[in-house]
């Protein structure tokens, strides 16, 4: 009995201590939802580390011009109920001013809540329909005024790849119409760019084949590879991520297809190439950042940020990590603007996002692409870096092929 009493008292004392600490200082709270143990943890953990290290770094280096940044990372394992509960907890108890989110599941479940509560959300869900904040495009079902993301939307990345493919086809001097196929699960995330991308491919003179469905989970995809082979597809867009991409590359390598793979942003990184092995040959994928080993001025800051969780600075981070860093730093600068213009509230942070043109966060030159958000257009970034990956017998090589700039067509807004 005595022991129990002591334990409860000490917990109570501890909790009180924590509470009083939180009240005492000038601070704002940012929630961070991450998937580190769920189905998207493959890339979710990498991205989350980027965001978390950045928040810790910002806090350790003066916060938001003196206001310290309180944050909490919750691993919601890609489960919607947990994401909602965490959001409500932060909103009602910690007066959250902004949130760093993760995937399609949490972002879309919270669209209505964040719009009503005026909490800007920075997520890594790049669905095109999040880019229309006012519902200008008649196709937009649900305007998402408080959703932001750093990077081109899935649709825009795919358009960029298609644009690259059209040039590639011309360069190779091949005859006839190139064939284009969308490969991915029938699931909101791979489907997001399907229609938009196919439309643009057709516009550029591709012969668009019916989409090939492969499961989001790893498996044997030889049958699908055979149908890719028999349809004679030249360019295949991969909508999936992680293990599923590995299986596809391996299966198609066995079958012997002559397809040029182009993946979405989550489908290509060094980890994937090392695991997939021989099948990775001139594998095309988009990024929004340079690579870890690239020598650009902004990487210095990224390496400092990385030291927050890896004090020796030895870890080599994937490009998803760097995207997380950019996402956090754009938020930080919008918060700085908000502080100067009426205080750090959700509404002011949103306004802060529109305050600058060709915006690159301080110290991240060459790392984050210049972004332009406007009240009517949340397509922050309209550039896509196109990279090529090669397995190269174990010595994985990644090189930049091109940078494509997409026009801001009004009919592409929110689509």
């Amino acid at each position: 009995m005595h022991k129990k009493l002591m334990l409860t008292t000490s917990i109570a004392v501890m909790a009180m201590g924590v509470n009083s600490q939180a009240v005492a200082k000038d601070s704002v709270f940012v929630g961070h939802l991450a998937d580190m143990s769920g189905p998207t943890a493959f890339v979710g953990k990498v991205y989350a580390d980027g965001v978390r290290d950045s928040l810790a770094y910002i806090n350790a280096n003066g916060g938001i011009d003196g206001t310290s940044l309180e944050f909490e990372t919750i691993d919601y394992a890609y489960k919607v109920p947990q994401a909602i509960a965490s959001y409500k907890k932060w909103k009602s108890r910690k007066k959250m001013v902004a949130m760093q989110g993760w995937g399609t599941a949490d972002t879309e479940a919270l669209i209505s809540f964040v719009a009503k509560d005026k909490v800007p959300v920075y997520s890594a869900s790049y669905s095109g329909h999040l880019t229309d904040p006012t519902g200008k495009n008649p196709n937009t079902k649900k305007p998402a005024p408080y959703n932001f993301f750093y990077g081109a939307s899935y649709s825009d990345s795919c358009r960029g790849l298609v644009q690259w493919a059209a040039d590639d086809w011309k360069k190779k001097g091949s005859a006839g119409k190139p064939k284009f196929t969308h490969i991915g699960a029938n699931h909101p995330y791979p489907n997001a760019p399907k229609a938009a991308c196919a439309e643009y491919a057709e516009e550029l003179g591709f012969d668009v084949q019916p989409p090939v469905v492969i499961s989001m989970k790893p498996g044997d995809f030889k049958a699908q590879c055979l149908s890719l082979k028999s349809s004679g597809t030249n360019y295949g867009y991969i909508g999936n991520l992680g293990g599923s991409v590995l299986s596809l590359v391996k299966s198609c390598n066995t079958v012997g297809t002559e397809i040029q793979f182009m993946s979405n942003i989550w489908g290509g990184d060094k980890k994937v190439f090392e695991a997939a092995g021989e099948g990775i040959k001139d594998y095309i994928f988009p990024t929004m950042n340079p690579f870890w080993s690239d020598d650009v001025p902004g990487m210095k800051l990224v390496r400092e940020v990385s030291k927050m969780s890896d004090s020796e600075g030895k870890k080599e981070r994937l490009h998803h990590y760097i995207r997380g860093v950019c996402s956090a730093f754009f938020m930080k600068e919008a918060m700085q603007w908000a502080k100067k213009n009426g205080g750090i509230t959700g509404e002011n942070i949103k306004k802060g996002m529109y305050a600058r043109q060709n915006w690159v966060p301080e110290g991240l030159d060459g790392v984050c692409l210049a972004a332009n958000w406007t009240p009517e257009d949340h397509r922050g970034v309209n550039q896509v870096n196109i990279y090529k990956g090669n397995y190269n017998g174990g010595d994985v090589k990644v090189e930049r092929v091109n940078q494509v700039t997409l026009e801001r067509r009004i009919d592409w807004l929110g689509y």
Binding site: I11, M14, A15, V18, M36, S37, K45, D49, R52, E72, T73, I74, D75, A77, K79, V80, P81, Q82, I84, A85, S86, K88, K89, K91, S92, R93, T104, A105, E108, A109, I111, S112, F113, K116, S127, H129, K141, K142, N186, H187, P188, Y189, N191, A192, K194, S309
Partner: protein, 357 residues
């Protein structure tokens, strides 16, 4: 069944009315009324976090009760409950936005639409049972999930569809505080309805089908009718739960209504107690609060100076996920009849204290 076996001695009923009563004693009845009455004041005291948990318990609880009617009372099985839940969510949003039907009418209509779909997928139950039925209903899960991805007119495809808040006489229930009342009303209403259903002729027929289908048939219970009806009612509950989920969130995405959700519903009814209505609610409360309680534990660790380093926090995240699985396994080993049974035992212990037999 457990409640029948564990009835205290000296409890003799002399009329069918006594045997059929929802609340076993007057005290329980008054106590339940009191709890519901007190629950009405919750939004004035509790913050949005607690309210959102209650709302979750409400919509999941309604859907789980449907599954318990199917699995616990009729002895069938369904692995497609998550998809039916999703169907209700999309159906209600679709009815509202396409035909401008007021939301509070859309919710029951979505229930009936889901009921129709559920009965369609329940048809194999007329011919097959056990594991075979499980696999047949698994097909429902995949077919409906795929349908969400493709049917843009219905679900909005990959963009999802929006669901307006419930509106009554110009008042929109779009905050946690106001939606709480909808959730409370729906929960009480659907649970009382479930209790009454089980007291009716149809409810007894369900139990007869479960306990011995051959005897039931000989006694004149139409097996096919009741199996199909059970699927219908189960999907109806799932549809109502799903519709509430949609109008609470304001937005439905095809993400989430996966096989995992179906399994989670099964876990809820097994943990709560198969064939027990209050057990269902206990199971749901348990499954909703467990991750939150563990998260709270992780949170306390994070607030300490030694605990707030990424290695510890990440490690705890994994432990949290494993702990959920572990608790479920332990439950199945030590309390296979569910929380309802445990509750009964606790009650009996106090009732006979200190002279339990």
């Amino acid at each position: 069944m457990s409640s029948l076996a564990m009835r205290p001695c000296g409890d003799f009923r002399t009329s069918y009315k006594q045997d059929n009563t929802i609340f076993e004693t007057k005290t329980i009845r008054w106590f339940t009324a009191l709890v519901i009455g007190l629950a009405c004041f919750a939004p004035f005291i509790l913050d949005a976090y607690y309210l959102t948990l209650f709302i979750q318990i409400s919509y999941l609880g309604i859907a789980a009760l449907g599954l318990n009617i199917l699995v616990g009372f009729t002895g069938q099985i369904s692995l497609g409950h998550g998809a039916f839940f999703g169907f209700g969510a999309f159906a209600s949003a679709w009815l509202n936005t396409s035909f401008n039907i007021p939301v509070f009418i859309c919710i029951p209509m979505a229930g009936f639409l889901t009921m129709a779909v559920g009965m369609m997928f329940g048809m194999p139950a007329a011919r097959i049972k056990g594991l075979y039925l499980a696999i047949a209903t698994l097909a429902a899960q995949f077919i409906i999930e795929d349908f969400f991805g493709r049917a843009e007119w219905f679900s909005g495809g990959s963009a999802g569809s929006m669901a307006n808040p419930v509106e009554l006489f110009g008042f929109a229930f779009d905050t946690d505080e106001s939606f709480y009342y909808i959730a409370l009303f729906a929960l009480v209403f659907m649970y009382i309805w479930g209790c009454n259903l089980m007291r009716s002729r149809d409810g007894r027929a369900f139990v007869a089908v479960r306990d011995h289908y051959l005897s039931a048939e000989i006694m004149g219970v139409k097996l096919n009718k009741y199996r199909l009806l059970s699927f219908g009612i189960s999907s109806f509950y799932a549809g109502i739960g799903g519709a509430m989920y949609a109008h609470y969130l304001g937005y439905v995405s095809a993400e989430g209504f996966t096989i995992f959700m179906s399994v989670q519903f099964l876990a809820m009814v097994i943990i709560g107690g198969l064939g027990s209505i209050k057990g269902t609610l206990m199971g749901v409360v348990f499954m909703v609060l467990l991750p939150e309680a563990l998260e709270g534990g992780v949170g306390i660790m994070k607030d300490t100076s030694w605990g707030n380093i990424p290695m510890v926090v990440d490690g705890l995240a994994y432990i949290k996920e494993m702990a959920i699985g572990l608790v479920i396994i332990l439950f199945l080993i030590f309390e296979p009849e569910g929380l309802a049974h445990r509750w009964q035992q606790i009650k009996n212990y106090w009732k006979f204290y200190p002279f339990s037999y």
